[in-house]
Symmetry: C2
Subunit: 221 residues, 2 copies
């Protein structure tokens, strides 16, 4: 399957660490699908504010949401926003301090946020968000009522302007440090794992842990 | 031990989710010490840019660094910056989609970045950064030479203006959803773990994995 390449603008063209830049849209999508939270940055009174939040992807659209009263979401509609999703895969131990690094996959998306207004797309965006955060939960759990929908703002961000960086493998040490054998060099890999589901204290005794939760736990990552 | 409380300014006063706000400076420090990367946000041409990067903490100072040519670091000196460190501890499955959440610990720090200029503090900042990223490595590995130092910009950010949020435990469902027993509810915890160290392909055969790397791996988190 061939996929369109990312089309970086001057802003999303990666200037530092070009060898780590990736222009394959499938890699962008895989990073967004593997991440659980994003860091959303907005400008408030001329200064940047960055906050962790949930998200979901449907095709070329990223959905984020929040309380309708949240200053960060209101500010997101006044300026462009930036969203980063980062997966940290390990720490790279080099022979020299200068070449210490991290193995990671990151996606940084720029653009204007669009306020999702139609009831259909609002529900769709919330479904995408919920299914990203907790697959299988939209059908299993009670879906939002009118009062809850009124309290929720849904924003959409196009994936058109995105920069993807991937670093993997060992350190890029200086030749003289390698030949002088000055220090140990290698990678300490880092992984995320689910632990066993913990039923809520107030859950009635009749429940087994549902398949959509057990399957995710069993996937271990 | 009593610690000074965080003193939020209007900007760092948490407006959404107040019950999750924490004002204990020891919690701020524990989050920063447990995290591995931060998300740095700067304003470039009026728009926010957020990037993952390393950091280190010494007392009330956070150090970040990067290539001296990096636009993001130059921009960091022209406006205030914002840094977030987020630890994701699990996904909270609620009876209603509206109450799905995440368990997490987050610190968001605002302020002007200070360019570290004295040679002594530059080295100190890089040591703090290296020891945060890879404890024990400053003494083990080759320390930076003049050429490497010239290529590196070190910034300092005061922890004075910080907002800390912690969420833990099960979902906060509506009473009627609980009594109607509409869905499973609980937490799927998430943890990060080190995997076994992977020596670099070009490492000479004489090396055992050093204690500072093995100890970190053995700590498992």
């Amino acid at each position: 399957m061939t996929r369109p390449q990312l089309s970086p603008t001057p802003r999303s063209t990666i200037k530092r660490g070009k060898k780590r830049a990736v222009t394959d849209r499938a890699v962008l999508e895989s990073i967004l699908d593997a991440g659980l939270i994003c860091h959303l940055s907005v400008v408030i009174d001329g200064s940047p504010v960055v906050l962790p939040t949930g998200y979901g992807r449907d095709g070329d659209t990223l959905y984020i949401h929040g309380s309708s009263g949240a200053l960060s979401l209101r500010s997101a509609l006044e300026n462009e926003i930036c969203v980063a999703v980062t997966l940290l895969d390990g720490i790279v131990y080099a022979r020299s301090v200068f070449h210490f690094s991290a193995n990671y996959r990151s996606a940084v998306i720029h653009g204007p946020a669009r306020l999702v207004e139609s009831p259909e797309e609002r529900l769709h965006g919330l479904r995408v968000l919920t299914e990203h955060m907790a697959p299988g939960s939209w059908e299993h759990s009670r879906q939002p009522n009118a009062k809850e929908l009124a309290k929720t703002t849904v924003l959409a961000l196009s994936l058109e302007e995105a920069a993807v960086k991937v670093r993997s493998g060992g350190p890029g040490d200086e030749p003289e440090d390698i030949s002088d054998d000055v220090a140990w060099a290698g990678v300490l890999p880092l992984t995320q794992q689910w632990s066993a589901p913990v039923p809520s204290d107030d859950l009635s005794s009749g429940w087994e842990i549902p398949a959509h939760v057990m399957d995710r736990y069993a996937s271990r990552g």
